[in-house]
């Protein structure tokens, strides 16, 4: 199981639609993510990114539309079985009552897939992969936001996923760690061939790692294409979202205080 690199799976979404209390959140979304592709979904807060991911992994049922993994519909997560899919939650979603090692090894220990010694070895290996050596016995509450996210990625990798979803992997992180995590995503994607779907509103991350980018706004994709295509997109909302920056009018320099008569 360890020797063969995971083979990415193809994800296809057709006409995905969802409203909460009559308020539409996802409107007729259709797209395909190819095997081994790194697909980034960008969008402002509240645009439905998390809701979309929850549908893709089967935590929520769509009002209409289909989600297919290699042509097979995504069922409830308990029966996902056939294809290994993992998700890294926005806040990590680590179980606070378990240590780092127990969190990372949870999938293997709970399903009794490996003997304890083997689980310890795999956990140490995945933690090392994310630069978290020696954190096995710490509690999630003792970790920084960046470490939590890396532990969550380690836990997702233990599943040996063929498809992995990341919900805002770099939010709440300082730029340096954000870059480290971005590099990590790319390396995992290249090394393991995992199909990766990354949701973010971090422009640097998106344009730095994506094969293709989709811009989600009010439940629809305003743009979908390679980073170059999306950057050149003419839609005013897309342009505003992609090019907003802190460059306001230049401030007048304050008058020097020591102006003696």
């Amino acid at each position: 199981m360890n020797a063969s690199p995971a083979q990415g799976v193809r994800l296809e979404v057709r006409g995905l639609t969802k409203s909460y209390n009559g308020r539409p959140v996802l409107r007729d979304l259709s797209f395909t993510v190819e095997r081994g592709e790194l697909f980034v979904i960008m969008g402002p807060s509240g645009s439905g990114k998390t809701v979309l991911l929850k549908h893709l992994i089967g935590l929520e049922r769509p009002d209409a539309g289909e989600i297919l993994l290699e042509g097979e519909p995504v069922g409830p997560p308990e029966t996902l079985g056939r294809h290994r899919v993992a998700m890294v939650f926005q806040s990590g979603g680590l179980l606070n009552s378990l240590t780092v090692a127990e969190n990372v090894g949870l999938y293997l220990s709970e399903h009794r897939l490996k003997p304890p010694a083997e689980i310890r070895r795999i956990v140490a290996e995945k933690l090392a992969l994310l630069g978290l050596e020696g954190t096995e016995d710490r509690w999630p509450a003792e970790l920084s936001g960046g470490m939590k996210k890396r532990v969550a990625i380690a836990r997702a990798l233990v599943v040996e996923p063929q498809l992995i979803f990341y919900d805002e992997p770099t939010s709440e992180l300082d730029p340096l760690i954000a870059v480290t995590i971005g590099r990590e995503l790319v390396r995992l994607n290249r090394q393991l061939g995992v199909t990766s779907v990354v949701v973010t509103h971090d422009r640097d991350l998106a344009f730095g790692i994506a094969h293709r980018i989709a811009v989600l706004h009010a439940g629809r994709f305003l743009a979908l294409g390679t980073p170059a295509e999306v950057r050149a997109h003419a839609d005013p909302v897309v342009r505003q979202f992609l090019h907003a920056d802190f460059a306001f009018e230049p401030h007048p320099t304050p008058e020097p205080v020591s102006r003696l008569p």
Binding site: L59, V85, M87, E110
Partner: protein
């Protein structure tokens, strides 16, 4: 209200169906048992000692006045095991353990821990609800046994030492032995088993259906405790009627 009841019954059904998996969750059942015992044993004993004592104090002088001392052991004995111990312990556990279960599961829901479990193909009912429900169903009847015994001791202490009652310890024990049958204790234990299942199922269901961030956790906890206590009192009446017919 009816929606909640339906959800609780649904969860109960799913948990009962998962019952064969209990052995796999053995460690978690033990952890829960330890937690419940730790949180409630001392409190339960203290409460029972005083209730038994007050019971003797309230009824003893009245009985003694009419020359009926020899009924006091029976009255304390029967009230403790048929009614007071099961209901009091259930209310205590609803407040201490039901609230904690709702809070813990509720915060797991709010902080996406339960979603994370599901993405790891771990069924939250097996992982969270089953061990808690099994543990509380074992713990509450055990606690009730303690409570009955300590309540009897409290009653005896008061009955023997209070000058208005002044019955010998031997007389109290004899009266209790004559008046209380094994079936009476079994009655109380059966009741408490029913209460335990209700408390566990209500608390877990409230926890799982928590929405609306950290404030939602507080709401779930309050609802879990209030609903549990209401259900305990309703069930108490129903069980008492049913068990009367069985006698």
């Amino acid at each position: 209200m009816f929606h909640d009841i339906g959800e609780v019954l649904l969860l109960l059904g799913r948990t009962l169906r998962a019952l064969p998996q209990t052995a796999r969750q053995g460690r978690k059942v033990l952890e829960q048992l330890f937690e419940i015992g730790n949180a409630s044993l001392l409190m339960a004993c203290l409460l029972s000692l005083f209730i038994g004592g007050v019971l003797a104090l309230q009824t003893g002088p009245v009985l003694a006045e009419r020359g009926l001392h020899h009924f006091i052991g029976q009255i304390v004995g029967l009230s403790m095991c048929r009614e007071l111990a099961p209901v009091m312990m259930a209310v205590l556990i609803a407040g201490r353990i039901g609230s904690a279960m709702a809070a813990e599961i509720g915060s797991m829901q709010v902080y996406q821990e339960i979603d994370a479990l599901r993405t790891l193909s771990i069924n939250p009912v097996h992982y969270l609800v089953l061990p808690r429900l099994v543990a509380i169903s074992l713990a509450l009847p055990t606690l009730v046994v303690f409570s009955i015994l300590v309540g009897w001791v409290g009653g005896a202490l008061v009955a023997v030492t209070n000058y208005q009652i002044s019955i010998s310890l031997h007389g109290f024990v004899k009266s209790l032995g004559n008046g209380v049958e094994v079936m009476d204790v079994v009655n109380g234990l059966l009741k408490s088993l029913g209460f335990a299942v209700a408390i566990g199922a209500i608390a877990c269901q409230q926890g799982l259906s928590t929405t609306g961030g950290p404030r939602g956790i507080g709401r779930s906890v309050t609802k879990a405790v209030v609903n549990s206590i209401v259900v305990i009192l309703l069930l108490d009446y129903v069980f008492t009627r049913l068990l009367m017919h069985l006698d």
